[in-house]
């Protein structure tokens, strides 16, 4: 039994993004995004009977969200594995809806980390076998992975910088992107080093923000006045929590989550029209392009070079501007879904990819720890 095409995303929205100012709470942002996503879908708050959320602020996130919004769900899922959680929620919502456990699922997230102090808010515990060495969480862990990729495959800082530049070129086309000024490879290379080989421009933004997505059965979606975006397939995988336990720092568990998602969807990387790859750091995009089959292992650096993932390039990647230039509110996975849905509906304005039918959404969580891949499709892709 497959979940292919069983559910559709019928509403998406962002909360206010960037720097919302002091006083707003993460739940306020979830409230904003939920109102907008419900309006987008044409559904009413009273239709929502499934809640999905994860948070670094709320220990029992779906309880807090349900209370704030005044929703009493009959199905609740607070799966928490970092930034990928929300892509996971999409799969879990599909399973719950298909099993009849709920009909309308709300996936939501909010963070006020920038207004609240300008640093990543994380509930992450320290690993007692890593803490004595003071790695800066999480950038040093990704830096270690980058150092290994450079050693094994000759990947260069210039190639990593190309990822940041491509993200910026997309961000320039997105009025909601946080950073839209010109950015060159040289700018990235000469920016402040944080944890070598990653400079500050190799790192995602620290912004406020949030989002919401409404998911319902394909049948239910057809009764609404929206363009449904179907879940074609999804897969999850995780192999480690701490970077010192990652078996091979050049290979993420996306080599399992990807094929699981492709198999359910009945498509391969060659069918993907637009890819949203969780770019917490520049090395992520390189690793996920390799691990998800867009190029061979070790060729990611070359793949991203020369504007090939920029607007007008061979593969449209992170068309919002990504976590690097658009928005990164601590956990970014839900905003990947928002952008993929908008692309498939043809609502992405200046950055719209021409007639996409299949979007790949890839969430990453922890320190390259959890990997969740989903394939979304238009009616034509069904």
């Amino acid at each position: 039994m497959s979940l292919r095409g069983k559910v559709a995303v019928v509403g998406v929205a962002e909360a206010d993004l960037g720097e919302v100012g002091p006083g707003f709470t993460p739940l306020d942002l979830i409230g904003q995004a939920t109102l907008r996503a419900l309006e987008d879908s044409g559904l009413d708050k009273s239709d929502v009977d499934g809640l999905f959320s994860a948070s670094a602020y709320y220990h029992l996130p779906t309880l807090s969200v349900g209370e704030y919004l005044g929703i009493r769900p009959r199905y609740s899922d607070a799966t928490s594995m970092g930034g990928s959680s929300f892509v996971s929620h999409l799969l879990h919502a599909a399973a719950a809806i298909d099993a009849g456990l709920c009909e309308v699922a709300l996936i939501s997230y909010g963070s006020t980390q920038r207004s609240g102090g300008g640093r990543l808010v994380t509930g992450s515990e320290t690993d007692p076998y890593e803490a004595p060495y003071n790695p800066r969480y999480p950038v040093s862990m990704y830096a270690l992975a980058a150092s290994r990729h450079m050693h094994e495959y000759g990947t260069t800082r210039e190639q990593l910088a190309e990822v940041a530049v491509a993200a910026r070129e997309w961000a320039k086309l997105n009025p909601k992107a946080f950073m839209r000024e010109d950015l060159t490879v040289e700018d990235v290379l000469s920016s402040r080093m944080v944890s070598s080989p990653l400079s500050v421009r190799d790192c995602c933004l620290v912004t406020d923000g949030g989002g919401a997505a409404i998911v319902t059965s394909a049948e239910g979606a057809r009764d609404l006045e929206v363009t449904p975006v179907y879940l074609l397939g999804a897969g999850e995988a995780h192999w480690h929590r701490s970077i010192s336990q990652m078996p091979d720092l050049t290979v993420s568990a996306a080599v399992e989550s990807g094929p699981r998602a492709y198999a359910m969807a009945g498509v391969g990387p060659e069918d993907v029209d637009v890819a949203m790859l969780y770019d917490a750091f520049t090395i992520n995009t390189v690793l996920f392009l390799e691990d998800l089959g867009f190029c061979e292992k070790g060729e990611g650096g070359a793949f991203v070079s020369g504007g090939r993932i920029s607007p007008g390039g061979e593969l449209a990647v992170n068309t919002s501007g990504g976590g690097l230039s658009y928005n990164h509110p601590g956990m970014y996975g839900l905003l990947l879904i928002v952008e993929a849905v908008r692309q498939l509906r043809g609502e992405s304005g200046d950055r719209q990819v021409e007639n996409p039918n299949i979007a790949l959404v890839h969430g990453n969580g922890g320190v390259l720890s959890s990997q969740v891949t989903a394939l979304l499709g238009s009616e034509r892709a069904l």
Binding site: Y133, N134, A145, S147, H151, S195
Partner: protein, 127 residues
């Protein structure tokens, strides 16, 4: 009340360090080297883990220099020990940016902090 046949793995590990050594576990079932210490083998699931002392010889698997607003950067590495396990540590006695992937290193237990902690120094070309 515990199962009676063992002390906490983290305490055994600490005893090794206090005596100047680096302890790790070996699985009696599949032979895997296990680190960090635990009560079962994460490879095969066997509970029969025995303690061994590492030679302390290893190779840098990955490295980063962590920059601060003030002061020199410090390094953080992952080291592959010759017995087949990996751990996070730092390489001392060399500037942070000079530590390279593939460098041969050997253990030195740092006793300066509250808790002894395993760090590494570069191994020379000759004796």
């Amino acid at each position: 009340m515990n199962s009676g046949d063992s002390e906490p793995p983290a305490e055994v590990y600490r005893r090794y360090l206090e005596s100047g050594g680096l302890g790790f576990q070996r699985c009696a079932g599949c032979g895997a080297a296990v680190f960090y210490p635990r009560v079962l083998c994460p490879v095969c699931g066997e509970s029969g883990l025995t303690w061994e002392s590492s030679s302390g010889l290893g190779v840098v698997y990955a490295t980063t220099a962590v920059y601060r607003w003030e002061g020199d950067p410090y390094n953080v590495v992952l080291v592959d020990l010759e017995e087949g396990f990996r751990m996070m540590s730092r390489v001392e006695g060399v500037s942070a940016e000079r530590v390279e992937v593939g460098a041969s290193v050997m253990l030195r237990v740092d006793r300066e902090g509250d808790d002894p902690s395993p760090v590494f120094v570069l191994r020379g070309e000759g004796p």
